[in-house]
Symmetry: C2
Subunit: 232 residues, 2 copies
Amino acid sequence: MTKGILYGVGVGPGDAELMTVKARRVIRESDVIAVPRADMGEQTALAIAADCVGDKPVLRCDMPMTRDKAARDTAHDRAADEICALLDAGKRVAFLTLGDPTIYATYWYVHKRVAARGYPTEIVPGVPSFCAAAARTGRALCMDGEPLHIIPASHGAAARGLALPGGKVLMKAGKGILDVRDALAAQGQLANAVLVERCGMEGERIVTDLAQLGDPTGYFSIILVRAEGNTD
Amino acid sequence: MTKGILYGVGVGPGDAELMTVKARRVIRESDVIAVPRADMGEQTALAIAADCVGDKPVLRCDMPMTRDKAARDTAHDRAADEICALLDAGKRVAFLTLGDPTIYATYWYVHKRVAARGYPTEIVPGVPSFCAAAARTGRALCMDGEPLHIIPASHGAAARGLALPGGKVLMKAGKGILDVRDALAAQGQLANAVLVERCGMEGERIVTDLAQLGDPTGYFSIILVRAEGNTD
């Protein structure tokens, strides 16, 4: 029997047309589609890829968004067990992730377990959400000698990261977005910033004047901050 | 007459299958394809998109890789003039860039000029080269609360950037790659690093032991450096 393979497939930022040709082919050629259960992001990944997924069986893996490491480890071990059982049966499994699978993807916890057990794996890269947000707002993320810092704002790192020279992308601010806004204001960088929510998805919103932001927003928010002196 | 439009189209990192569905459609629907003249990177962009470009007319814009700002400005103004003349004639122009158009793309100099003159423009995001390099080497770029720093190594910023906590992507090291390797060694980060050259293109090379690197490499080199303590 052919041995199965696990594909980690980036489906891009939201617009189905921003999937790569390879992502579409790999999904179509897979036997089983895997996504995390009850994770808002990955339900979206399934919707983005819907026309390639068709009526293929969908494995929903428990991947809790908790800081309890033991609980996460248990869930990730179980997801790896379920996927390895499919691979042992010769199945090709495509695990869908929003954006790119190597950038803040919970998928990676499953990937490294399955790879460590010696199963074949392949990553299919995708367009990251911050590239789509930059495109949507007509801004360059970085030019010439400028560094670009991708900062997970939900982990309290926003204020530290904002002090770095270069462009910044603040991801996963979530309900802490007003704190991030205040950190931007404190550093005099509010005028350099723009917020994009649900880029390319239904309910997309672009906020160019963050001082006017009243309500905390959801999971799919990205703040782009220009490098000082960059007017691109 | 319909007014023309300028598309900045990311064709991804090298593998034609990593183009997005949208990039392929926009190129096919365009009247003229623009690329920089005599720029190794963008000739490659034309090769990646060859089957969508077909026999469409190709505009080769002079975009010198010089630090002489006046010479660059003159060249970029002229490229913008040429493109705007096509837009005035109602043409749809697709300017191809390797990777993503918002990340270190010389295209941006033309984009901002054309946009500033009031012409319609649209950016089509693409898969950045560093996502493909991470996929190819089976590494996550960043997880959880780790920041990710994209650093243009050709501008002498490598040593400063390497001291930051989090994952790093060192781009455009070019012939300075041995200096970057020495900076990595000096900071004890050699074991965390991997080099990918010409990812997904002919002549691809992956160097996992940078201590063994003897010869300076070309333009398409990317070094990925794991965050300390990250074994993903």
